[in-house]
């Protein structure tokens, strides 16, 4: 009897989990469906059965070259993430293994920088980019995206590092490991799941960033967010084309997320069960 109840409960939970997952995924699914409709179908109202036309994809590709913004997106997302890891790993190491009484305050301060709306600092950052020649450059945006996501990266890595027993690092030190060896050969391999999930999450965040990447670019460094923004039209139907552009923009990150989901989940729940 007890087994039957638990089986029912399991089915119930599974159904609930699928429902929630579908609910979360639905906007993306509907974007994909809309991209396969004609413009008239797209604006006509809610309809899950498209006419499966690829017309919008053809128009999008003929109007704008997809590969230039795609390349920029890859460079910005991967570049800013790697740069963030280079800065954040030593920072998180220091805070996790040599905490001071100010460590918590520093962590909170870092997080507080995420609390201000981006538009509040638009003009100063715009001027800095102008004066330093970083406007519409990949390097400028890579640095900016790295700085934007750095607090999250440091926080995540700090949380993962705290799960690693300090004694292991002490043992390495007793065996004569230098600081560099300790971080590179002892800490990093043990924190791989955490680092990997941080890396993936940060790539996703950087890929989807759509304020600075639109405000600080014109043509050379414009990534896929700017590509999507170019398909909205004040006079003329555009929902199917916009959906096609969005699908093309999210497809790479969706595929990356699909293949790395185990790693992502493992990293995000790292240390949850001991």
């Amino acid at each position: 009897m007890a087994r039957a109840t638990s089986k029912n409960a399991r089915i119930g939970w599974t159904v609930a989990a699928w429902f929630v997952a579908l609910l979360i995924f639905f906007p993306i699914l509907y974007t994909i469906i809309t991209s396969l409709k004609t413009e008239q179908e797209a604006i006509a109202g809610f309809n899950l059965i498209p006419s499966f036309t690829l017309e919008s994809y053809q128009t999008v590709q003929s109007q704008n070259n997809y590969w230039r913004p795609f390349t920029n997106s890859v460079i910005l997302a991967v570049g800013s993430t790697l740069l963030a890891l280079v800065v954040a790993i030593p920072a998180a190491w220091a805070m996790a293994f040599s905490p001071t009484k100010r460590t918590k305050d520093i962590l909170m301060w870092m997080l507080s920088t995420k609390m201000m709306p981006a538009v509040a600092v638009l003009v100063p950052i715009y001027l800095i980019f102008l004066r330093t020649g970083l406007m519409d450059t990949r390097i400028g945006l890579t640095i900016l995206l790295m700085l934007i996501n750095l607090p999250i990266v440091v926080w995540m890595l700090y949380t993962y590092f705290r799960e690693i027993p300090g004694e292991i690092l002490e043992a390495a030190r007793m065996d004569g490991a230098s600081l560099r060896d300790e971080i590179l050969y002892v800490l990093t391999p043990m924190a791989v799941p955490g680092i990997a999930s941080t890396l993936l999450l940060n790539i996703i965040l950087a890929w989807n960033e759509a304020f600075w990447t639109i405000q600080l670019t014109t043509t050379n460094a414009a990534p896929l967010s700017a590509f999507i923004a170019s398909f909205s039209s004040p006079q003329g139907l555009f929902w199917a084309k916009l959906s096609a552009a969005s699908t093309m923009a999210i497809a790479p990150i969706l595929i990356l997320g699909w293949f790395s989901q185990k790693q992502l989940v493992r990293g995000l729940t790292f240390g949850a069960v001991k």
Binding site: Q40, V123, D136, Q215, T219, A222, S233, P234, Q235
Partner: protein, 440 residues
């Protein structure tokens, strides 16, 4: 623009000072634009321009209208120089020109400034100087289904009054067949429902502000405007109209669900296009209505224009590009490639004198009549302190117009009464105008 380019341009400028020819060699123009059909067509024809001007390369930045406005404003305010040619609306031109953000435009005789439609030219001029060249322009007019009007036994005259429109809308409505007598904008926004409602209010004899900048939503003219608008939309309009803008109504009309649609004249080419519209051969046109006894047809006038920001460091090349894109020759080029229907409308008198255009575009005559009738210098029959047709040409209007639009859209959605919406609009606008220093 890259640093290399700046250096190149600096060099070219020096050469020009020294009197050496070739000032436009190796210039890259960055053109910021919106994703409208006519703009995309221009983008596709860029190679024709670069072939004729080998020293100039053109880079396009296409953005959503509001993002474009935001980007360009930031860039001009900070003297960024990211763009050399801007696509801006009639609303921005006088405001930005007064701030010295735009370069005044002077063209040679071959360009034919006198060929530009006077109403459009006036809307883009400040103190007699042209600050932007019109790429395409529009007014507003009535588009209606001739077959439904005939079946319902009503006739819409060329110069209809609002009473004519309401009578026809009522007669054409058959909600059981998803056939709605009238489709009008309801989506909130200064450029959405407020563009229509401001024009409608003009035609009712209303005004946004009196000569002391005091809002006039408590006037009987505004009350009549909003009451009639809500009556028409609630009784003869489609469901969910409070979220319908230009595109949504375009789709409804093309699918044969609207008897009457009153909106921008540019819509005429969409609704009569047999490829997209199921009612292409059943559309009639009439002037924007007026209220009985009020000699005012809304004064709607909008143009998408090309302008040069003062911060551009390639102003000569930018002017060359604008002269090409807004020339008579460009219109001929479009016509030769895609037919006369595709020619950018509303900017040049010569286009409307062209018999081939008149033949291919059944809406040509009414479009020209509507544009010519628009008076943006005095849009109300009462005395007003502002210019602008379906908007008020002050920087604060974007915020105020959108806030009022939200009140009126809420009234359309049934969340507030007309009286409440007008009272809220009056209070909100008075507060903002006082804060901005207009009301002492």
């Amino acid at each position: 623009m890259t640093i290399t380019l700046r250096a190149l341009l600096g060099g070219t400028a020096l050469c020009a000072t020294a009197g050496i020819a070739g000032a436009q060699d190796n210039v890259t123009l960055t053109v910021a634009t919106v994703n409208n059909g006519d703009m995309i067509r221009m983008q596709g024809l860029t190679s024709e321009f670069t072939a004729a001007n080998p020293g100039i390369t053109v880079e396009w930045v296409t953005l959503e209208e509001n993002i474009l406005r935001e980007r360009v404003t930031t860039d001009i305010a900070t003297q960024g120089g990211q763009y050399d040619v801007l696509t801006i609306g009639t609303y921005e031109v006088p405001i930005w020109a007064k701030q010295n953000w735009l370069v005044p435009l002077e063209f040679d005789d071959a360009y034919g400034v006198d060929d530009l439609i006077p109403a459009v030219r006036d809307a883009l001029s400040v103190d007699g100087r042209l600050y932007a060249a019109p790429f395409y322009a529009e007014s507003a007019m009535v588009m209606y289904r001739t077959d439904l009007a005939e079946a319902a036994g009503v006739k819409i005259p060329e110069n209809p009054t609002w009473t004519d429109i309401m009578t026809a809308a009522k007669a054409m409505t058959d909600k059981s067949k998803e056939q709605y007598g009238i489709c009008l904008r309801g989506k909130p926004g200064w450029g959405e429902n407020m563009a229509f409602l401001t024009a409608m209010a003009n035609s009712y004899g209303a005004r946004w502000f009196d000569t002391d900048w005091k809002p006039q939503f408590d006037s009987p003219e505004w009350q009549a405007t909003l009451t009639d608008y809500l009556t028409m939309m609630n009784e003869y309009g489609p469901p969910g109209a409070s979220s319908n803008g230009f595109n949504e109504n375009l789709s409804l009309f093309q699918q044969g669900k609207c008897g009457i649609w009153i909106d921008a004249t540019v819509a005429a080419s969409f609704v009569t296009d047999p490829e997209d519209s199921t009612v292409a051969d059943k559309v009639g046109f009439a002037k924007f209505p007026n209220k009985d006894g009020v000699d005012n047809h809304g004064n709607w006038l909008w143009a998408w224009n090309l302008a040069i920001p003062a911060s551009s460091d390639a102003q000569d090349a930018a002017k060359t590009f604008i002269a090409w894109a807004t020339s008579k020759g460009y219109t001929d080029l479009v016509a030769s490639k895609e037919g006369w229907r595709a020619a950018p409308p509303g900017t040049r008198t010569s286009l409307y004198e062209n018999p081939e255009y008149q033949k291919e575009a059944p809406f040509a005559a009414m479009t020209l009549t509507a544009i010519n009738a628009a008076n943006t210098q005095k849009s109300s029959v009462q005395d007003i302190p502002y210019t602008g047709g379906q908007f008020v040409a002050i920087p604060e209007f974007q915020g105020i117009g959108t806030a009022v639009g939200q009140q009126f859209s809420a009234a359309l959605a049934g969340q507030a009464s007309a009286a409440d919406a007008l009272a809220a609009a009056q209070a909100n606008t008075t507060r903002e105008m006082t804060r901005a220093g207009y009301i002492k």
